[in-house]
Point group: C2
Chain length 333, copies 2
Amino acid sequence: MLIAVDATGGDYAPREIVKGAIEAVSEYPIDIALVGNKAVLEMLLRRSTRKSNITIVPADQVIRDGEEPIQAVQNKPDSSVVVGINLVKDGTADGFVSAGSTGATVVASFLNLSLVKGIERLAVCAVFDANQPQPTFLIDVGVNANCRPIFLMQFAQMANILAHQVFGLDSPRVALLNIGEEEIKGNNLAKESYQLLKKTDLNFVGNIEGYDIFRGKADVIVTDGFTGNILVKTIEGYSEIIQNLLELQEASKLDRQLTGAALAQYVQMTSFIKKLDYKEYGGASLLGVNGNIVIAHGRSRAKAIKSAIYLAYLAAKQRVVEAIQNGQYAASV
Amino acid sequence: MLIAVDATGGDYAPREIVKGAIEAVSEYPIDIALVGNKAVLEMLLRRSTRKSNITIVPADQVIRDGEEPIQAVQNKPDSSVVVGINLVKDGTADGFVSAGSTGATVVASFLNLSLVKGIERLAVCAVFDANQPQPTFLIDVGVNANCRPIFLMQFAQMANILAHQVFGLDSPRVALLNIGEEEIKGNNLAKESYQLLKKTDLNFVGNIEGYDIFRGKADVIVTDGFTGNILVKTIEGYSEIIQNLLELQEASKLDRQLTGAALAQYVQMTSFIKKLDYKEYGGASLLGVNGNIVIAHGRSRAKAIKSAIYLAYLAAKQRVVEAIQNGQYAASV
């Protein structure tokens, strides 16, 4: 199995990306195609003992974070994102991971891989750990600011397949993010989506509220891309503050002031915050296109890249895209 | 100045409400009218040395949390919420604080106090401390699931008055909660609201994203009641987890394992989380009706009730309702 990895995108590219790729081929039964500047990548790989599992695919253009995605994708056919996604398109690679511009990855996937038949919109599904025994799936975290009820129903169906195929959840509990538990609560979109969701054969458990995300009430949480994006970024901002406070504790730990139960607690809290960050822990799957695409955080270091590669590997192994392609959508409800 | 307080609403009513009221009259230059069961309140006040500042207003009906608000308010004219709001309506009280059903308080305020002329919708404005030197105002956190751009513009104008009058912010930075900084970002509601907001005489600083809530980028944050409600409840859920982890640390502190810098850190983190909870720290103002109404958390204990009473006192003293009544809205843009 070959996973393509964007070696150019992300704040710590290419060094941390290459490091993550080397760790990934050491741990998982995969080969990796690093997409980026050939000379730089050859230099970074020179000392690696695992280079037999890593190939380099040259791509010399770079799409920067601030660029308008549609123009960037169209004007830079030799960018790492476009080249990487084309490796998936032509069947050379079984998946593609990028920590570069999310907008560019979404646009290039849409243009070059096209939507799965019957699917109205692609969406980003975050996989994170909300202090539960198994991961939680939140869809959509940012592609579709304006949604119709049918989009949300399809998001739920796709994320349900991901949760089932990749993480072996038998009958994932699917919930609609809303402002009250009752069926009649919410804005028009939520109310209408509820009606569609309850008619599917999903294990739809109804509405959940903001705090329920942390209370293990659902495996798959569905919302529009506006609410979902604000939600994950709010969590990110909160984590930053707690992280800053913990870093001072880290200093005091070094002073040997943090011992026993307090130290255990510190470790537990740090671990919780890290796992909550879907991009650090699991990554985010782009669902609804004919290809296996994983989005990693722009701030990804080696470990986060390895996690994202693992998600791409699992999705390929468990044939998530094929399962989504074989789904029944829309008119069937 | 007289502030009416709902002694019946909330998980710890009436005992913690009465305690909070006694603390409030000790600290602030106010009198309090406790609204609830006369016999019970007389008993609870018996030993207080501050009872000369506290009167009891009988109200024998109770609106429970699960009740449908409109029916409850109409069928229970002798409930503490309805009686308390009528004290504001007839000018007896300068404000009303309730930790009871938010829905009932909103409905009773709307029906009995009516909307300020020119205002399209009332809204709940949360006042909280996001680790900044001055408080942050988030509107709407839950009344209006479906909004039009003009609502958001008016929410901004009302919260701007609250921030200016009550907390002395000279020219509050008003921002629109969105999924990107650029003017063209967001769902249709956000895009259109942006256009309205930039034409007002507010100090509109543009869009902010979820993480910016914690980065001190704005004083007044405007959003629709669906997104706002999910946002505050997500923060609440996150805080619950951190709080649980800290409580274990508290135990270890008792073991004298937490000392020096680590202890200071623990105190700082606990304080941050408490202040972030707007209902514990500041409360939430119901803006847009002809009366000064403050909503406290259902789980309020004495200290939170005292905070909410303080907010009601400040709003009355600074004549927030009058300032909102004197505002220019809608057609003026």
